[in-house]
Each structure stands twice: as structure tokens, then as C-alpha cells.
Symmetry: D2
Subunit: 317 residues, 4 copies
């Protein structure tokens, strides 16, 4: 089922599971798919920045997308297709859609600077993949370095009928959501789903500003789902209470570069992936950091028992 | 009293108070000085990035430094002297020390790239101000864009006998503190005070990794002081409990660009500064953001009554 | 006399002469003023990037501007006033105009990224200095890193009635001049003087594309003047013949970072400035580089005898 | 035959020829191979930045490398294998060597900043491709943004026995060559071929500083070959005379972004490639620019008849 501007809820960003030697771990892909389905995610996004996509060969990327699509049949699967060139982007996009994906996601290349360069890039990208493929615009200046104003985002969306969603992870970004929703009120922007990323660091207020849900890789998607639902139900205090209980860990996970190692460590503890290894070049997690994460988990678990993952990491490592 | 490598505790980063028309508000400088003294800060850092230093003329900067030093006589005052050129840096550094400041703080200019450029810059800077002036090295890559490895920091410190403190605000930075403390254990780095900035977002664990205290502009320095003391006393859970209660607001304040407006808004609510105005070009805070801050304050106040600042912002603005 | 959009011809970019110990060399300022006047420049621009402006204290900058204005009374003097903050920019701008300068020049700060940030910055800058002060927009992405499209430049110019000139040094920039001149033909851009910088590396074709002249620091402004005049007179081959004879040296001078040392070396050889020293931190010129410059001078002199500067640098240095 | 540190002479950087519709033009690849062979190049480098490598799919890149290797059997073929991830880099490197290439070339990814990041990256890259594959280190900060000091280059070379050549295109870079050659004199750097790129803008002096030859895409490799030989023969004036005759065109070709269009235009005029088209997103060349190139060609031809390419571009286009 193709993604539409009405998409909402929680889309998990999936890491790509590897064995310690760098090979792709397909059984863990299946467990990830099952896990996201069972906890109640609406979708899953694969081959994003978190998914170590640039480290994959083209054939590997296609195989991973296909496997997720096949196994997570109840979820909408979005495939990250950002690439240095349009030829590779088109290939992966078309192969993914042929396999049954719901949409693709495109981030701007770091070299873009002026408004015209940015809007021109996305116009060409959308043309290249073909306007029968719904796509998600990723706005992540903290990591990518490309700054898109609300007006530029509006232009990109209005230029391409197939752009159906914004993955919003500007930082700070609260006013950006308000401005975009204001554009829709004044009729200058058509319907657009906005899911928030940025590690969920502002999910609480982003929902109140008008986001339709979350799209991020926090290792407890259950919390994302609940906060999104509580917020949508207007239960503000309850949403914040749950969110705040997780915030110390959310913040810990959202460390640039180091965050992926933390997430894989937790997902491994949860029994979802077999190894926390990253393909080279990757970042490791020290024994001290593991102990810090364990401590945070034990604190979260006082409020949210789902974070109770049993014994802490052994001190010696 | 000059700053030494034994410095520890909490140093507040002071904003520069302006009237709505952009003039400097000297009475508010005095109230800020009194406030930091009364809550129990060990020092105050003025004319930092938060202090809108680049917007000041040279004579204004000197006058502000002098006024803080005079009024906050019980505190150690550190003056930010980062400047595009060494002549202006030297002038402000010497004038500040003549007025009674304890030290100066220097951040790298954004153009530096290679390790040699960075170490060479600080060697020349230290020579220029004179080695009778203790100085603080600011390591803030998120905002400044200059990346200094632990080895580079060690070289800078070992090259300049007058470098006494690191304002640590790399992100992520926990392993950096551990590495630097490891250098001291293996004898390759001399004593150095490490205070953590980065909006206190990782103060809880940074203390556990070996930081000597906090240097940041969070609008409740009382919390910083308490967390630093609890952590130093080994009361881990109590430190985290207090920290976690403030974390939703800490996180909100730490938004790049927008954070200063939030801090000035709270300090104004607390009656410390008369206006939350920034000198142009500044960032404003919307009515929605004010209401969000008020909501966060009310939530913090459930645990820490000091955050109870009375009625919330009027809806209409 | 204030600068107008009708300004044309050759404006030399003046270096700031220092003694070997870093003090400002006022006698050399006077000789520079006389030199530019005698060779027939139409104006001189001081305190630009080439002028080591960021290394100066505010009072020094004002004194240098005043001295040039006083001595170069037959020339239009443009004063670079780019500064990290508007307060310092305004002070230098007003002091310079009070002293008799013709205009000021403003470059964008390197942190600007989006079109809105750029146009917003210049709108505020123009307001800050006051619209009675004519100003020159400097477009130098190679060094500054800020990319302004022709549309953005048009908006800046149309937003500020006091913007009278573009210092064009985008690279490549030929199509930019054509586009801007096209805007004027279609009536969407008002009259604007365009002088080309970028070390004159494209002066030959930039004149043919519609530039009004040159504004750069090449050590033989006589050549700039002649090429501008030959080109304006439609003597294409003659303009290129002269330009090409100098091109090997132009190219050598235009090395980022190293160029200033080469220019000061030649101006010293020409007897205009007493020392080729730069204020710290500066770049030096090696004995090998001096010998290379001497060789280039001897080759230029075969076509243009003005480049005959006598004996070459001694081998040993 | 594998590339060794004794490599010298002229290596052409080949563009990738496309048809107007974006398909790869294999017949033009063969003509390019023949052309480089016939004019006397020592080698050819394919799939570099000039070769639009990021726009190719993996299978296309391999096919292009294979075709060049097969046809240009008398030349040493170097294949650019820079990629966002090591998996893709390894695949292309091994496939190219299996097909008979002499070496591969690796540029640093733009995200690298600190010395340790840079040296660590190349250590991992060399391990990944395997130390039986000779590789060329590309140092091109103007385009890539990564600054490598001479010490960093030395460490990279000393860390990897299979690094046999530096493609030197820092700018300015003359002192860098001198420093590296000095390292070899003092015994701290092992033998290393240095070929200069940067559009040949400094080929004249780079040869005198110790370069072993040229590796760049200037559309008249004959000139590069002659200048390299004249310089190696100690015929300084003759080398400069020939170089200077071409310099106006060299400079015109070396415009960032626009240069490739100029080169393809000239190679098309020379009958080597069938179309000057670039795969999207590409830069076009205007009619005015074509006329400027034609004018430059006619001027070069006065000294070097090889630049006589017949009638100029029609005015109307």
C-alpha cells in the first residue's frame, strides 16, 4: 500500500543488523520486522542514516529492503534511497517499490547550499525516480548540514506531487512545524504528513505543534507509540509523564555518532538483534557506556516496566 | 584571585542584559551578579557565546567585564575574550585582568581545521595575551565547528602553562573526559580543571566521568550546584533524581539559537533581568514557546519548588 | 564624494602596511595613497580581507581609514566595515564617512546559509549603518563560504537603496555578471556598479560580460587600469595581450592565504611599502617563492616594462 | 603492470563520455583511449571527480573501467574508487585490478576533519581493498574540503605500503611539494610519486618543486606532456613559454563546476568524444562561454598550432 499524506502514527527507523564479521544478519532482520509489528508500529523505515546505508553495496541494499518488505507485511515500509547520484537512487527506489515498499525517503546531499540548489535537487530527484513513487523528504540539518527554510520545504512539496511526508528533524524545529501547519491553513501548502525524528528529543512538544507521529530509532518504539497516542487523545500530562521517564535515555541515545551503538546494544539486550556490531568504520560502545545505559534502563523501568531488561552489563569487559 | 587548575564547582554563564532598545542594562548586570552570588555559584563567566559578545563594541565589552568583576566580588569572574584578531583579544584580556578578573576564556575561530592549525592558534593566542593570564580553553564543536581530539587538547595544555581549565562541551563528550583523565593518570597531561557546558545536557554522567563541575547558562544554577555537590558526595541516585526533574527544561533550553531567548525569558520571570531582549540580530521567543516553557516550569516545580515562578504567560501576546 | 551606481574604473585593494614588529606603518600608508593616485586609480578600498582588517583593534582601524582618506584625496575611498556584530560595523562606518570616505564595503559572515538568512542580514546591516551611507556588497564565496545567487543579490540590492556596487568575486562568475546585467535589461534590477575582484583572474572576460571595472589588489594596478580601458574601448585583442602577459603572475598572486605575502613582497620591491611583514598570525614567503616571483616579474617585463623591478632576490635568505 | 612509486610523466584524467540521453558512449571511450595513447600519455585515470563517477551505478562503473583498461592497453590505467562506503570501494577496486588496471585512486570523504580521522580512514581503506593493490592518494581540499598537512600525508603513506602516488592538488601547494620532498631527504618518508592536478594551474612551478609529472584533465594533454618533458630536461624558459601560451585556457577550464563542460566541449571539437553531454545533474555551457573558449583556442593556436580547431562556434545557439 503506497504511503499517502494521511500517514500518521509511529514508524520505527530500523538499524541494519550485522554479524560481528560485517556480514548482514538476515535472521535479525526478520526478528526486527516481527518486533516492530508486534509492538504496534505503523511502519518501518530501513536504509536510513541509522541503517548504515552508505556502507552497503547496491545489491546488499536491495536485498535488505526486499527482506524487510516481505517479512513486515503488515507494516508500511519506507526505504531510504539517498545516494551520491541519481542512477543509483532510481535503481534502489524502483527495486524497492517493485518488492512492495510503500515509499522511499530522500535526504539532501551535504553539498547543497542555496535555496535554488536545494529545490532544484529535489525536483530532479523526484523526476528521476518517477512520480508514481511516493517519497519522504528528510530534513536533518544537524547531521547533513543542509538548511531548508519552511518556504523551501513548501516549494519542494508543491513542485512534486509525489512528496507525501516530511521527516522533520531540524533542531530547533518546533516553530518550523507551526509555520508549515500555518502554510496549510492559509492554503499555500497541500496536505503533508509530518513525522518527527531527531531521536524523539522533542516528541512531546512536536506532537502538540502538529506532528502526525514519530519516525525515529529509539530502542523502545512502544514509548513512541504510547506518547503519540496519548498526545493525539489530548492527554497532555500523561504524555509528558511517560516521555519524561524516558528522556534521560532518549538524550543518551541521541549522541551524534555514538547513538547507533547505544541503540544496537539495547536491541541486542532485548533479544531482537543477535549482535550490536556495526560494519566498519563503526563506533564502539565502551564498558563504561554500557554500564551507564544499564543504569538508565533501570531508572526508566521504575516508571515503565518495559525497560526492565534484567541484569546489567558485567563490570569487567 | 587567579584561576588555577584546582578550580571546581559551578560557574554560571551570564547572559548580557540589554534594554529593549539594545542599550546595555547595568542594573540588571548587578542583579545577575548578586543572584549568582546568593545562590552559591563559585564563579561566573561573562562575554561568552551566550553573552552576545560579538555584538558589542570593544569599549562596551570592557565596561561589562569591569562591572561584573566589581559587583561579583565574591565570585571568580572569567571573561570571554575570543576575537577575530589577537590585538582585540589582548586588549580585552589585559583590561579584564587589570579590573580583577580571575581568568579569560578563548574559543577557536571556526576557520581552523588541521591539528597543527589548532595547536598553533592557541600557542600564539597564549603568547599574545601573556603567560601571566590564566585561560580557559573552550571546546564547543557543535556551535563552532572546530574538532579537537583529546591529543590536541593535551598538546594545547602542555604548550601553555597558563591554560588552567577546559570548558568541555563536545557532544558526545563522555569518552573525551575519560580519555583526558586517563592522560593524567599516565602522566602525559598535567592537572587541569574540567567544567562541563553544553547546556548541562550530560552533567549527570559528565560528573561521574571526572568533571570538576559545571559551567553553563541554565537558568536554575541552583540545580547545577546541587547536582555537582550530590555527585561529588557520591549520592548518585539523588543527583540523577534532581537532574532528571530538570532535564525536560534543560533540553528545551539547549536548542541552538533559540536557547538564549528561553534563558532570558526565565531569568526575567525570576526577576533577575529587566528585559529578555537581545541586541539585534537576535532570536525572539513566541507566545507558544513561552507557554511551553511555563508548562515545563510547572512540571519541574512538582519536584523542585524553586522552579515555581507563579502565573503562566498570558495566552494572548 | 559619495559613491554612486555610476562608479567605474579601477579601485585598488590596499594592503595594510605594518612594521616588522606588527605596528602600523603610517608613512607606507601615505606612499600607498600616493602610488594609487599617481598610477591613475579611480579609487582605493581599505580594510578589506587583504587589508588584514580582523587583526586590528577598533581604534586602529578608524585611524587607518582616516589616514587613507586624508592622503588619497583625489581618490574615492571605500572602507571595509565587515564585523562580527552590527555595533562595531556601525561605528567604523560612521567614523569613516565622517572622515570623508566615499562608501563602505560589507561581506557576509561565514555562518549565513539560507537565502533568507543572507537577505535578512544585509537588510539589518544597511539599516544599522543608516541609509545615508552608500555601501558595496562583497560576493566572495571562495573565501567566505557564503553562496549568493543572482536572485539573492537582486533582492539585497532592491531592499537597500544605499547599495550602489557589487564587488564581484564569485568563481566561476562570468554567467553571474551576464545574469545580473540581464536583470537590469528586463527591469527587475536597478542600476548597480559591478567591479570584479577575485585577484583579476578573469578580468579579461568579466569586462566583456559587463563589469564596470576592477577592484582587486594585484600589485600592478597599472595593468588593471589599462585592461579596463582597452576593454571599454573595444580593443579586445590588445586587452587580452596585456592581460595574458600578466596572467602567470596574477595566477601566482591569487593563491589563497599565500597571495598577500606575494603582493606585499612586490609592493616592497616597488618601493611603495617599507616592509612585507604581516601582523601575526601571518603567512611568510619563502626564498624559493621569492625567486619564483622574481622569475615571473622578469617574464612579464618582456612585454610590460613596468614589471622590471631590477635585481632578483638573493639566492641565500 | 602495477603502478610503482617510480611512476612519472603525464596521466590524463578522462571524462566519462555520455550520449545526450545519459547513456554511456562506449565508442567515445575507445576513442579517448586511443587519443591518450596516440598523443603519448603515460597513463589515464578514469572515474575520478571529473569522470562524474558518483552518477554511475556500480555495474556501469565497473564496465567503464574494464573498457578503458582493455582498449588503452599501452597505458597504465588508474581507477577512481572513492565511495561512501568501503564495501563498494573494495568491489570496484578488485574488479578493476582483475581487469588489468594498474592502480586505484582514493579521495577522502568530505566529513573528515581531524588528523586522526584522516589517517584512520586511509588505514582502513587500504586494509579493505587489500595491500596487493597499489593506490593513489588524492589531496584536493579546494573541492573536497579535507585539509591534509604534509605530516598527515607522510603518516598515511608510511602506514600503507601500497600507497605509491600522491595526486597533489592542494592550492596553494608549492610549499607542500617542497616539504614532502624534504621529508624524503631527511629519510622520514619513503619514495612516492607525486603527480600534480588542480587543472595544471601551477604545473610550471610544481615540476620545479619536485613533481614527477601531471595528472589532470586539461583538454590538450599534449601540452602537459611537453611541459613535463621540457621541465625534466631543465629547459625552464621553454617550459614556461609553452605553459604560458596555454594558461589563459587552463585558467578558463579550471572553473569549479563549469570546467567539465568546457573540457567536454573542446574534446568534442577535437573529434574525440561524440557529445559534450553530462549525465544529470550536470552543468551546461552557454553560447557565450563557447565563443569565449573558441577565442581562447584561437589565441593559443598562435603559439601552439595543435589548438587550431577550425571554425568557431556559431553565434546563434
Amino acid at each position: 500500500m503506497k504511503l499517502t499524506p494521511a500517514a500518521a502514527g509511529t514508524f520505527a527507523i530500523a538499524p541494519t543488523p550485522f554479524f560481528d564479521d560485517g556480514r548482514i544478519d538476515e535472521a535479525s532482520i526478520d526478528r526486527l520486522s516481527d518486533f516492530y509489528t508486534e509492538v504496534g508500529c505503523d511502519g518501518v523505515t530501513v536504509l536510513g542514516i541509522l541503517g548504515e546505508a552508505p556502507k552497503l553495496e547496491a545489491a546488499e541494499a536491495e536485498a535488505i529492503a526486499r527482506r524487510f518488505v516481505k517479512r513486515a507485511e503488515k507494516l508500511q515500509v519506507i526505504v531510504g534511497v539517498s545516494a551520491p547520484g541519481f542512477a543509483a537512487m532510481r535503481s534502489l527506489a524502483r527495486a524497492s517499490m517493485d518488492a512492495g515498499a510503500s515509499a522511499v525517503m530522500i535526504a539532501p546531499p551535504p553539498s547543497l547550499r542555496t535555496d535554488d540548489q536545494i529545490t532544484g535537487y529535489f525536483r530532479q530527484a523526484a523526476e528521476t525516480i518517477g512520480d508514481d513513487i511516493p517519497w519522504v523528504l528528510q530534513d536533518y540539518p544537524l547531521t547533513i548540514g543542509v538548511q531548508m527554510t519552511p518556504s523551501v520545504i513548501r516549494k519542494i512539496v508543491m513542485d512534486s506531487i509525489s512528496c507525501v511526508m516530511l521527516k522533520h528533524e531540524d533542531w530547533p524545529g518546533l516553530e518550523k512545524i507551526s509555520t508549515l501547519r500555518g502554510f496549510q491553513k492559509d492554503g499555500s501548502l497541500r496536505p503533508l504528513s509530518i513525522l518527527t525524528g531527531n531521536g524523539a528529543l522533542f516528541l512531546d512538544f512536536e506532537m502538540e505543534r502538529g506532528a502526525d507521529g514519530a519516525m525515529t530509532g529509539y530502542a523502545f518504539p512502544e514509548m513512541l507509540i504510547d506518547v503519540v497516542k496519548l498526545s493525539q487523545a489530548g492527554r497532555r500530562d500523561a504524555a509528558h509523564d511517560l516521555f519524561d521517564a524516558h528522556l534521560p535515555l532518549i538524550r543518551y541515545e541521541q549522541q551524534p555518532g555514538a547513538g547507533l551503538a547505544v541503540r544496537k546494544y539495547i536491541l541486542q539486550k532485548r533479544g531482537v538483534i543477535a549482535s550490536s556490531a556495526q560494519r566498519k568504520p563503526g563506533s564502539a560502545i565502551t564498558a563504561t557506556a554500557k554500564a551507564e545505559v544499564d543504569y538508565l534502563l533501570s531508572r526508566v523501568a521504575r516508571v515503565d516496566p518495559r525497560a526492565n531488561l534484567g541484569p546489567q552489563a558485567a563490570a569487567a569487559e
